[in-house]
Amino acid sequence: MSLVGRVAIFVGFVAIILVLWEGAKVVGGDPWRVDGEVVWDPPLKFSFASDVNLPHVWEVWAAMIAPLNAGTTESLGAYLFWQALYTWREAAIGFALGAAIGVALAVAFVHFGFFERAVSPYVIASQTIPIVALAPMIVFFVGQTMTSVVIIATYLSFFPVTIAMLRGLRSPDPRALELMRSYAASRRAVLWKLRLPASLPYLFTALKITATASIVGAIVGEGPGGIRYGLGRAILFFSQQYTIAPEKLWSAILVTAALGVIFFGIVRLAELFALRRWPEGFAA
């Protein structure tokens, strides 16, 4: 599809969401006011459409461009942008480390059966421990630094990569392995010429999951990590102000979602590049 077509679909869909959002408030929200005067009193009352639960779109927008605090010039939007960048840095490092650990574990599992039998139960068990239980322990060990947040993001990142890579490394046809054996190829050659290239589509499927998981990990980690920056801190702070200024938390959520979409998009572009020589459908 052409780029123009894609943009048109995106813009059209945003418009539909905005219409539904404000439509709910027209039908069942709180009274609409202009300069204190009630200009529209919706016939129904939906609790989800109240001004606290669902602020007007333009109120969110106004909050984004308004100064963050009285007396500062930085807008809420600019503030959130810088916090998002900070969180993204933590997430990206965790993403890279998680991917490296995931690939390394899968390669080790494929080559050493005893290692897989010994270690994989712990890898699986690690994923059932909720991060809220683990985060304080990591912070206690490592200290209230960005490192602990990176570790948490890594922790949430490596598992999908391990599982998908394991599948990918084992994906070659048995005859392809026989072919390599007929060439008396070394295990290293089998890994580099066959197993790793064959696992690329699997790897990128996992990396797309990991891109968003690492952001969640970074955000969740910033609270117990005692980090004074980042979207996690902003979300915690604005959630305390929710009843008086819901539009600020909504702004933080929108920026967080945008960050996830952008990071996903970056991985997607890398995938399209890496799989450009594959049959159509593999890079889907």
Binding site: D173, R175, A176, E178, L179, M180, R181, S182, Y183, A184, A185, A189, K193, L194, P197, A198, L200, R277, W278, P279
Partner: protein, 281 residues
């Protein structure tokens, strides 16, 4: 090539047997196989499903180890011959790597053997010319038809000039017309290169058309029941397929297969049969 090398059999099988263990049961896939294949021969292994012909081919390539007997390739053990890259292998599926172009697929063994880029490129050009795919060097395998893909697999198997070509039902997945064309092309390549071929098939016409000898196998346990000389004139072509001698030989092979099967049924027990059908292709 020295006279001694030229006269030694390329493949020598002595009392080869293979037993697969399936839990408490065991299945005799191959039993007392003896066969010498001389340099430049084209030998087909033909037999019903489960007769162990693919297993036999794999023991020659040291992809499966025999339980009994000895396998020699070029007067070496099968393992030594594999490590010395004495044979090329072609499977029923082309087993090409989709992420590589056609020429890169042909270069794969040369890469593994440490040849430099210039030599590899040169060789791939020659090989693709040999199989008539020069115009498709930069294509990817998934852009080619099944017959073309199999030609790439043949080019890849021949790229490092092995003495022996092992083919496991290479044209089994192709339609009849493509298969006949591929048969003629394979014979042309065989005549030009002088390579020794061991060819597994379950098509009687294919075996007769291609081979200098046909080894007829029977199942349960898998063994060679007949060795049939194919004395059709070469070069073989359309006229061969229409000659009376061709049909005579087809009948001979068919009857050999039938008598082989009859004997197998008399000898085998029912448990052996089900296990063999499950285990060996």
């Amino acid at each position: 090539m020295s006279e001694a090398q030229a006269t030694a059999p390329v493949v020598q099988l002595r009392g080869v047997g293979k037993t697969f263990a399936l839990g408490d049961d065991s299945t005799v896939a191959l039993n007392d196989i003896n066969l010498d294949i001389d340099r430049g021969e084209f030998v087909s292994l033909i037999g019903p499903s489960g007769c162990g012909k693919s297993t036999l081919l794999r023991t020659i390539g040291d992809l499966i180890e025999p339980s009994e007997g000895t396998v020699q390739v070029n007067a070496k053990t099968a393992k030594r011959a594999r490590l010395d890259r004495e044979y090329g292998m072609v499977f029923q599926a082309p087993v090409l790597f989709d992420w590589r172009t056609v020429e890169e697929n042909v270069q794969l063994p040369l890469e593994l053997f440490g040849q430099n880029r210039a030599a590899r490129t040169q060789r791939a050009v020659e090989m693709l010319e040999l199989v008539g795919l020069s115009d498709f060097a930069r294509h990817h395998p998934y852009q080619l038809s099944g017959g073309m893909q199999q030609r790439v697999a043949i080019a890849r198997a021949l790229a490092f000039s092995p003495d022996l070509l092992l083919m496991d039902e290479p044209f089994g997945a192709l339609d009849e017309m493509t298969r006949e064309r591929m048969n003629s092309e394979l014979l042309a390549i065989w005549e030009r290169t002088g390579i020794t071929v061991v060819f597994v098939t379950h098509s009687i016409p294919e075996a007769v058309f291609l081979s200098s000898r046909v080894a007829v196998m029977s199942a349960r346990p898998g063994r060679i029941t007949h060795l049939i000389e194919v004395d059709l004139e070469r070069p073989r072509g359309l006229a061969t397929r229409e000659s009376p001698r061709y049909f005579e030989l087809i009948t001979t092979v068919r009857e050999a297969l039938r008598t082989g099967e009859g004997r197998a049924d008399d000898m085998s027990t029912s448990t052996e049969r089900t296990a063999a059908e499950g285990g060996i292709g």
